[in-house]
């Protein structure tokens, strides 16, 4: 069953009563003359009539039941949100603690030649002559007398022993290189000479 091309789109609106007055009159005139469009129109009218008669049955208590169900869901949601209010910060704090612990553990690992740096921060430090790489160990002049029991010789030996005995000494010590203007090769030579001289 087919309608004329020009009226095909207007007939559904005619059936639902949604045509403008001009279109309505045109369609009425056309329907008087065209049997195919009339049949098409009858079938559309039958469909819309069924639709319009059809009704949805809703239980009178549905509205109240819906409100209860929605409020229950929203309460559950807000309980979750409240829980998240402390769960998220607690989790973030725990993660921060873990991260800080890991960082501090890493930091407590002996850094390369860290003890040499420590030497300088304590009572003696490595000094270098102007003539080259050969280093000597000096006692910090700023240490008040009486704070250190050891004699200067003891301090020398102690410091050199620490340098020589530490297996990391062969690595390039950035601290020492930076403060002593030594390159890797110079540093190794200096250590060998210290070994020979002191021990």
């Amino acid at each position: 069953m087919k309608a004329c091309k020009d009226y095909e789109d207007l007939l559904p609106l005619y059936a639902s009563g949604d045509l403008s007055s001009t279109d309505y009159e045109n369609v009425c005139e056309h329907l008087k003359e065209c049997k195919e469009c009339r049949d098409y129109q009858i079938s559309l009218a039958a469909i819309t009539a069924v639709i319009e008669q059809d009704s949805v049955e809703i239980s009178p208590s549905y509205g109240a039941e819906l409100v209860v169900a929605l409020n229950r869901r929203l309460d559950r949601r807000s309980a979750w949100q409240k829980r998240l209010l402390w769960v998220v910060p607690a989790f973030a704090t725990a993660m921060a603690v873990v991260v800080i612990t890991i960082i501090s553990l890493i930091k407590t690992e002996p850094a390369n030649n860290q003890w040499i740096a420590d030497l300088n921060q304590e009572y003696y430090y490595l000094g270098f002559t102007n003539t080259g790489y050969f280093g000597e160990i000096l006692v910090d002049d700023n240490i008040p007398n009486g704070d250190v029991d050891l004699s200067t010789d003891d301090l020398y030996r102690d410091a050199v022993r620490q340098i020589v005995e530490n297996p990391q000494i062969s690595d390039i010590d950035s601290y020492l290189l930076a403060t002593g203007n030594l390159d890797d090769e110079d540093f190794k030579k200096m250590i060998e000479q210290l070994k020979y001289k002191i021990l």
Binding site: M1, E8, D9, L10, L11, P12, L13, A15, S16, D18, I42, S43, L44, A46, I47, T48, A49, V50, I51, E52, Q53, D54, V56, I58, Y62, G63, A64, L66, V67, A69, L70, N71, R73, L74
Partner: protein, 187 residues
Amino acid sequence: MSKGHEKEKGNLNPDNTRQYDADSFNRLVLENQEKIYSLFRRMVASHDEADDLTQETFIKVYKNLSKFRRESAPFTWIYRIAVNTGINYLRRQKARQYIGLDSANLKSGDDVNHNSELTNRLLQKALKKISPKQQMVIILRSYQGLPFKEVANIMESTENAAKVNFSHALKSLKRVLENMGASYESM
């Protein structure tokens, strides 16, 4: 408009949506639940599905109350959320090759209004076979009886586009019914 009257109508004043209290939300639900449930009930086969979609719609309404800018009436805004929820649902169902009422649901029973129920079911089944947007426009205009201006507002289109969409939807529905062997004499 007096404050009392605003409250009575369940108005969503953009200035106080953040403080929109539970009572006002409940009133909004009660005022619109019938239309929203009916919309979904035409669309899906069971009460449970329609109820789920109705709840989903009102939860979205609640979540988005602060975004409501009052560019349209609360009723239109809620309907728009419902229509989008419905269209998305139908698309998901179609993707799952879902077919609504199958022929087993059309078995003869001892219902007095057997013929008219059969026709309604046939129509419902045919409705599910047209596109989600076309279903919606038929439900809104023919089942819900909304004027085209309102249908256009809900579907965010022009009135003319809504009419064209409706016209195509009704033709599609007719075609599907004919393919299903429906006879208009029985209607």
